[in-house]
Symmetry: C2
Subunit: 356 residues, 2 copies
């Protein structure tokens, strides 16, 4: 199984200072590299104890790059709407060279009104900015003397340096949550996908994945050539009751922070994000136990988690679990234990098909 | 002597691929950490084999952070005019935590017309953007619930995460080259300074440094509390003739790339940058031998370089040499030899005064 580790910081300075949080994440990344995990991922968010410790995913991943040898480094995700394409293309190209081609790039449209407000970007323009930014970055990576004449940016001719290490470009993923249009667009462009099941129902998610896979096929991309990363919380312990008890505590704090951050913004409710109000209402109703009933979390003993992993593959098809193993102010020892047990007792049950 | 290493990439992909350049710089940074150098610095530039390998200094320094234990990490420099203050404040704060408070932050106004054009920023606004960006970043680091109502940015109330590790802020340096107003402003704000002597005459530079120190004193900052980093090329070899021959070759290529980059833009010559045309004309006339006559380079045997270091202290006062030791497509072995000889045979001649 191509399981990865997904750092989505949900701590405040009072709970865990940033210096400690990043020290722990770096140690867990080194462990991921050693234990055979496929990837390490971190998010881009601002201001709140919901992702806010990581306003720049590349900065953290560059720090991981020189402590690791084989694990892939995943931006999950960069937000083109908040970053100039020249800056983001260059920064990612530096990282792609520094890590010798281990970079996977995720792009997200962003959804928190307060972030758009701070950057003085209209939420109504988010989809257009997202798509223009990605297109501009792909051209800056692949072509020289690029002239860009878009709606939001005009530049050129310029030749971006450094050139990317992976040719023609690093793998590109689109982070999509609940908007069907986003899944169709990602598929039609032949991009890879990042999704999270736990903010929705499996039926809804399966429909969205079918839209994505269908659009990708319709655009002529080979079936099975897509990579799909699934964000999922994971807590493993030899004592399954302890795993559930502890995970429930941190998961409940995680949801509280997520809902609080969203609500802080809920005076504005732009049309393009209509689905988000429903999603928040849905999240409030879901406990960890609800997630477990619906194959939307990995929690329990290694044996139980093996069954849960198999269940997600049954529901969602061939996906790469991208596991949040240190959510909320969880102690380092718990996150490390999850990683060790998953690597030792879950991964071997899902061997990768050997290369053709 | 608080000598640092200064990576200013002046190579093209055909001469040295970025993957090799960064591998070498990382190895040299580890060496700097081990040999007692005070700092490692890298620049922000775009598009050309004149700095263009480093569009984002923080990305490289984050990679250095986790391979080193004590050396300081210096952005030399970030350009607030090209980066949103929220993004830059957050990115630098992440690095300050990841490196446990070893970050020194340099800010520059930028001067290449083609960079301003690509970012669709008017050069006439560069000083105002520079100053507003720095002020906004300092407030985001020091205060919570910041409301910013400036000429170029309006946001808030927002609380930036993560909080900076160094309190109240990481040390701030202003990069200034030839505009007296820049030196006066940096001093009046109590900032530290980065300057380069080799684009000017020592008389001119001494005047500018006097303006800086005078403005700093007049604003009430204690004499001697400033830190001044001096960019300077350095090539040391036990064979002094070889040092001069090789350094002259790479220095001449370095100047050619600098002049070529500036000339590529010389259709536009905005008023605020009037001094730059003179500077370029001056650079064309200067060979490495001219620099050596004027105490504007460190080149030769360790014994000769000891005298040159003493000469720069005599001319410029207490400064921190920030040494370019791998300019142009210089082989790694030459850069490493310079660092080893300087550490072993030059540094010990200039012991740091013990703390009071
Ligand atoms: Ca390596
Ligand atoms: Ca142009
Ligand atoms: Ca507990
Ligand atoms: Ca350390
Ligand atoms: Ca506001
Ligand atoms: Ca040579």
């Amino acid at each position: 199984v191509l399981a990865g580790i997904n750092f989505f910081p949900t701590v405040s300075p009072a709970e865990k200072p940033a210096v400690q949080f990043f020290d722990e994440c770096l140690e867990l990344s080194v462990l991921a590299d050693r234990l055979g995990y496929h990837s390490v991922k971190i998010v881009e968010h601002y201001f709140y104890p919901y992702g806010g410790y990581s306003p720049d995913p590349v900065t953290f991943l560059a720090a991981v790059a020189t402590r690791t040898e084989r694990v892939r480094l995943v931006t999950g995700a960069n937000v083109p709407a908040f970053n100039h394409p020249i800056k983001l293309a260059g920064q990612l190209a530096m990282l792609d060279n520094i890590c010798h081609g281990r970079l996977d790039v995720g792009f997200a449209r962003a959804f928190l009104p307060g972030e758009f407000e701070a950057f003085e970007i209209s939420m109504d323009s988010s989809r257009a900015r997202h798509q223009e930014g990605i297109a501009a970055i792909l051209r800056l990576w692949q072509e020289e003397e690029v002239v860009w004449d878009g709606t939001f940016h005009r530049f050129g001719p310029v030749t971006m340096l450094p050139r990317v290490y992976q040719q023609p470009t690093p793998p590109v993923f689109i982070a999509a949550t609940s908007t069907p249009e986003s899944f169709v667009w990602a598929g039609s462009q032949g991009f890879n996908l990042m999704f999270i099941p736990f903010t929705s129902t499996n039926e809804k998610v399966a429909e969205l994945l079918a839209l994505y896979r269908g659009a990708r096929l319709a655009a002529g991309y080979a079936p099975g050539s897509e990579r799909i990363q699934m964000g999922i919380h994971c807590f493993v312990d030899d004592d399954g009751d302890r795993a559930r008890r502890e995970a429930a505590e941190y998961y409940s704090d995680y949801v509280e922070k997520m809902v609080h951050t969203w609500e802080a913004y809920m005076t504005a409710r732009p049309e393009q994000y209509a689905g988000y109000a429903d999603m928040i209402a849905g999240m409030r109703k879901k406990s960890l136990a609800t997630l477990e009933e619906n194959a939307q979390v990995y929690v329990g003993t290694p044996g139980q988690v093996r069954e849960q992993v198999a269940a997600t593959f049954e529901v969602f098809g061939a996906v790469e679990p991208s596991m949040q193993i240190n959510f909320a102010a969880m102690p380092f020892a718990d996150a490390r234990r999850t990683m060790e047990l998953f690597a030792a007792e879950v991964m071997p049950a899902f061997p990768e098909p050997s290369a053709a």
